[in-house]
């Protein structure tokens, strides 16, 4: 294990990539602490302490690594980008032109990415306006005695909105250059950083509740992490036999390999999608509530059933959304017809099944079966902390870094990144981290 670390750092270009990634992450964290112009940093600190995080924005705050409640220049984090990619992906099912683009291969994909980026900026403008409006009206921190934004002239507010939008585009760029020049997937690494940054403070909170509790939580966390890794690594290997064929005087094929189908093919994406979708009605209801009049019936509905994390409606909706998105995502990324076609082209077949359509049907059948436990597992791990409300304090459970969404994301991203480093090591004949 340590040897693998050493050889990773000894390889010049791999070392360069790792250091580059770390540098970008440092820049991102620094930016997340810089308050936006016009925000009184002192007052924000006071308010955060006063209300002790009501947990309403907990999930969104989790993704931005605490930057949201600080009203920093990176307050929005990568949330707009995630929302934009969800929307574009959902639209490919609806709009024929998008579907055509998706099938076009690389150039079409590039165009879709470009659309996603435009949409990201549009969403960033919307969300930053929303957040700034909430902060000015004192709804971001309810019942806080001091003003978060002392000078609430229109011009200052516009400056804030424009700055936060630019901050979002910078984050998008940072993520993209990590993907391109660094190691791992930029966007998910940035989410990972945001979550990991909260571990020390959350750990301290728990430590204050007593040593025994802390110990128990640590043991539980280790158990959860181990089981998450266990399921993440699980895969079904479908044997594939390649026919021998002669090309010229040489013999090709004749080997038997396998097609790995992971139990959790979708990774952490469904969790991210589901939580960001659940956040939307909350934001809308808060924006439409006026400070003076009574909240309407649907606003109270949203507040009591969707936002409150202990309500059964919230928990079951979250669970169902995760299951749905797991199937949706697997359906998008893995196309059985394409796989079957590819296999047929290169003279491969699954023993006992005819190539072509029957193979595609068999793959679809296996995938459908295998995704069910995968999706259930994702859902259960994600809602696990909601069942231990007492231990973590109300409202704290979702951004509780030792269970649920946070662990899923951290372990998923961590495994992905380590695998990428490993494949780079393998190219140079070094031993990897994982056996």
């Amino acid at each position: 294990m340590l040897g693998a670390f050493r050889s990773a750092l000894a390889t010049p270009d791999l070392r360069k990539k790792i250091l580059f990634t770390l540098g970008i992450i440092v820049v991102y964290r620094l930016g997340a602490t810089v308050p936006a112009p016009g925000v009184s940093f002192k007052n924000v600190k006071e308010c955060v302490e006063e209300i002790d995080q009501q947990g309403i924005y907990s999930l969104i705050n989790l993704f931005s690594g605490g930057a949201l409640l600080n009203l920093s220049i990176f307050a929005l984090g990568i949330m707009p980008y995630i929302t934009a990619s969800i929307i574009i992906q959902l639209l490919t099912v609806v709009i024929p032109r998008f579907e055509q683009l998706k099938k076009e291969g690389q150039s079409g994909q590039g165009k879709l990415t470009q659309y996603t980026r435009y949409l990201t900026i549009a969403l960033a403008v919307l969300q930053s306006t929303g957040i700034v409006a909430l902060a000015v009206r004192g709804q971001l921190f309810q019942n806080c005695s001091v003003d978060v934004i002392p000078d609430s002239s229109i011009f200052t507010l516009i400056v804030m909105v424009v700055t936060m939008t630019a901050g979002t585009s910078v984050i998008m760029w940072l993520g993209e250059i990590i993907t391109e020049k660094g190691i791992g997937n930029g966007m998910s690494l940035l989410i990972f950083t945001g979550i990991a940054a909260r571990i020390p403070t959350e750990g301290q909170n728990i430590l204050q509740r007593g040593g025994l509790t802390f110990f128990l939580v640590c043991v539980a966390a280790l158990l959860i992490i181990a089981s998450v890794i266990y399921v993440e690594q699980a895969q079904r290997r479908i044997p594939v036999q390649y026919a021998k064929r002669m090309i010229g005087r040489r013999m090709y094929g004749g080997t038997s390999t396998y097609l790995p189908l992971k139990v959790n093919q979708a990774g952490v994406i469904p969790v991210i999608f589901a939580s960001s979708l659940l956040y939307l009605p909350d934001l809308i209801s808060r924006l439409t509530t006026s400070t003076t009049s009574e909240p309407g019936w649907w606003q109270t509905f949203v507040q009591t059933h969707l936002v409150s994390q202990s309500s059964p409606v919230h928990i079951s909706l979250y669970f169902l959304l995760i299951v749905f998105f797991t199937y949706f995502y697997v359906g998008i990324t893995f196309n059985p017809d394409e796989r079957a076609d590819e296999m047929k082209k290169f003279g491969g077949f699954i023993p006992g099944i005819r190539p072509g359509r029957p193979t595609a049907e068999y793959l679809r059948f296996v995938l459908g079966r295998i995704t069910l436990p995968g999706s259930l597992y994702l859902g259960i791990v994600a809602i696990l902390p909601n069942l231990f409300l007492d231990l973590t304090g109300t409202g704290q459970n979702q951004n509780f870094p030792f269970g649920g969404t946070a662990v899923l994301i951290m372990v998923g991203v961590g495994l992905d990144t380590v695998k990428q480093i490993e494949s780079q090591l393998m190219q140079r004949n070094y031993e990897g981290f994982l056996r």
Binding site: T116, V159, V162, S169, T179, N185, T333
Partner: protein, 77 residues
């Protein structure tokens, strides 16, 4: 002075958004997870991209300076 910095901040923010959007979407981020194997093309970064990177960094530096400057001035007042 603050007003000047604020105007500078708005201009640099808009420029920054524009510059980032001008970059080729390299399939970075989550959408690359979607496409299923859209490998980054082997064609390396072109001269245009390189210059764009430099320009983005430059504008980004101005952006940060403006933000920090406003913050400091507000604190002093």
């Amino acid at each position: 002075m603050i007003l000047f910095l604020q105007i500078l901040l708005i201009v640099s923010s808009l420029l920054l958004v524009l510059l980032v959007l001008l970059h080729r979407g390299r399939g970075g981020g989550l959408s690359s997870l979607f496409g299923g194997g859209m490998q980054s093309s082997l064609s390396g970064s072109s001269v245009v991209e390189k210059n764009l990177d430099r320009l983005t960094l430059f504008v980004g530096a101005i952006w940060i300076i403006a933000i920090v400057g406003i913050g400091l001035l507000v604190k002093v007042n």
